[in-house]
């Protein structure tokens, strides 16, 4: 009962317009003052502990930063060119290329909204010009953008791994096959719709264009290689070089170098509008001082600040969700929930249905990372008890979060798509609906076929150890 009031407060506060972070924090504090002896100092300690005690969460600012440099630095448009060169000639090709580009960008970026912004801001306009309806374009990108958190790296996976203490590297590997599968399912659905409705197809520009666009996108695509090789190594050549958290920081530095010194779409070497070389990027040889000035350049500062600001709003929610988690743990709620569910005789199948329902409902109201922080510790002990693989559970949760991102009222991808496409949010919701169906089928598939999630991490890293 008390717990029901707690969650009622959280949702009530949110709906009247209290920031999500404060809704979580205030409900927890009220609950704590009323039901327990724990001091307010413990709440402050938990807030500090959100950062100091969870080293893995550090990956979040770094992946956000890497993705900011990638979007500002013009990597997205090169990826799109490459995608169009590969699949643009098929029926519905531009839409399929959009999904493909989202998949590639997802492998560079840890977040779904970032993927929608990077790809959507270019592709939706291009699709409308090519004769697709705006609704269709928005629906495609809104959905494909959710792959940002399923294809590694992924901020949501980092949060899950932190919340239940499993390996981030293992979670990342687990996302590879489901991510590709989801992308292929979306592309297939589009292709079928395109055949049925006779949607436009692009021209085959030849292998020359595929090669040229690949070369142009090469330095951006290299980041995928750096992250994967850095975390997992190459058998027989090198061991791993860094932890997943460090990978994010390395990715940021690499993305900065690629954006400023190779693509020169930002920073001191960017083309200026005036002078003898107007419109052309400047050579580092002609302007060697850029090696120093780039680090302090206005573009660099601005990208750092934008990434910092996004980190702040996201982490403030997560930190307050950790306060709620602390209060729930302190009152031993997870044990009670676990006992209730186990004594109700839930088997693995029924349990996973319940998890899906909780997350789908929660996903309507909550930002994904915050929701995961709260739900994961509640259901994790039961999953272990029932013999469900923690990595499999994590992928199920991530896919649920994907669906939450494209369902109202809180759906980060909906917000972003409505902005990118210049459409009212409810129209985006309707536009996203057909593809939401695809994601639902995918969710069922992932839930009841654990193999999809676990085969790759088990092959590379051996079976998950459960020491609890």
């Amino acid at each position: 009962m008390a717990v029901a009031i707690l969650f009622g407060l959280v949702i009530g506060f949110m709906l009247i317009g209290v920031p999500i972070a404060v809704s979580l924090g205030m409900s927890s504090v009220m609950f704590l003052l009323w039901y327990s002896d724990t001091s307010l100092a413990a709440v402050a300690q938990t807030l500090m502990q959100a950062f100091v005690g969870h080293y893995t969460l550090l990956a979040i600012p770094f992946f956000i930063l890497a993705s900011s440099f990638m979007s500002t630095g013009g990597v997205a448009k090169r990826i799109i060119r490459f995608s169009i060169a590969c699949v643009g000639h098929m029926r519905g090709g531009l839409a399929i290329a959009g999904v493909f580009a989202c998949m590639i960008f997802a492998a560079l970026s840890g977040s779904s909204p970032a993927t929608v912004v990077a790809i959507g801001s270019i592709v939706i306009g291009a699709m409308t010009q090519a004769g697709y309806t705006k609704d269709f374009a928005a629906g495609v990108i809104c959905n494909a953008g959710t792959l940002g958190i399923l294809i590694p790296p992924s901020i949501v996976m980092v949060v899950y791994a932190t919340a239940v203490d499993v390996s981030v590297g293992r979670m990342f590997l687990a996302g590879v096959i489901p991510g590709i599968l989801a992308g292929v399912m979306l592309m297939t659905a589009i292709y079928i719709m395109a055949r049925v409705k006779g949607m436009p197809k692009g021209e085959w520009l030849g292998w020359g264009e595929v090669w040229a666009s690949f070369r142009d996108a090469f330095w951006g695509l290299m980041l995928i290689v750096i992250i994967m090789v850095g975390i997992y190594g190459i058998p027989g050549v090198t061991g791993a070089i860094f932890t997943p958290t460090e990978a994010a920081a390395v990715a940021s530095v690499y993305a900065f170098i690629a954006a400023v010194f190779i693509y020169r779409d930002m920073g001191p070497l960017k083309a200026t509008g005036t002078g003898p070389e107007a419109g052309r990027n400047q050579s580092l040889l002609r302007k060697p001082q850029a090696l120093v000035t780039a680090w302090f350049h206005r573009d660099t500062q601005k990208t750092l600040f934008e990434a910092g600001k996004l980190t702040i709003t996201l982490m403030f929610v997560i930190a307050n969700a950790l306060i709620l988690k602390h209060v729930l743990t302190d009152e031993q709620v997870p044990q009670h929930v676990a006992n209730a569910m186990l004594s109700a005789g839930f088997g693995p199948v029924m349990f996973l249905v319940v998890v899906n329902v909780i997350l789908l409902i929660g996903g309507q109201f909550m930002e994904p990372s915050g929701l995961l922080v709260i739900v994961a510790p509640l259901v994790f002990p039961i999953a272990i008890e029932l013999g469900i693989d923690p990595i499999h559970l994590g992928i199920i949760m991530v896919v649920n979060m994907e669906i939450g991102m494209i369902t109202p009222p809180v759906g980060l991808n909906l917000f972003v798509t409505s902005g990118v496409a210049g459409m009212p949010m409810m129209r985006v919701v309707r536009a996203a609906l057909p593809f939401l169906g695809v994601l639902f089928i995918f969710l069922i598939l992932v839930t009841y076929v654990p193999w999809i999630s676990t085969v790759l991490p088990n092959a590379v890293m051996g079976p998950e150890i459960v020491t609890r």
């Binding site: 009247i16 920031p19 205030m26 080293y55 600012p61 920081a249 600001k309 809180v410 917000f415 902005g419």
Partner: protein, 221 residues
Amino acid sequence: MQAAPEGSFTDRIEETLIAVILGVMTLVTFANVIARYVFNSNILWALEGTVFLFGWMVLLGASYAVKKNAHLGVDAVIEILPAPARRVLALISVVVCIAFTFLLLKGAWDYWANFANLPQTTGRWFPTGFEETFRPKGWYEVNDIPFPEWLGFVRDVFNDGDEYEKLPRFIPYAVLPLSMTLILLRFCQAAWAVWCGRQDRIVASHEVEDEIADVRRKEEA
């Protein structure tokens, strides 16, 4: 939202601080990877130093986000309400925020005070005074960050003149009472703005749209 001409002086300080902290966090972590992989060495304080910076950035940045109305929230319900009702809900919301930050400020002070050899407040949720006896914890050090010599004077003030090997905890933890004070201040300002009718909500409404407009501008350029 960025350091635009209309941004105030404090805006610029806060924005620069956020950018600098994130930049330093990234470089320190990167440097540790280089130290380990290339030089087979280490920066033992890198991890702890970075997480403290992380905490500083988010907690201090949270007050900036209040000022800029950037905190994530649900505006689906308030969007469909008439203006007067929206104003009432905004007032209730901001009061909730003020109450929360006030409680957190008390908690933050109580948590930090003993580390700085200062008394906690008494009272369960409302400070009713300062405790008379307490155990000072000025000696309590962090795990890895070495004590910088130029901070030598705090030895005499907080540690009875004893040496510190590592940074005392009250220094990184000071961000808690500091940031809570700032957030409380910003929420009070927001409350005043809502009362005067200058804003009708305290959550980000179409915050993302600004960013997208920004991306667009860049694409067109």
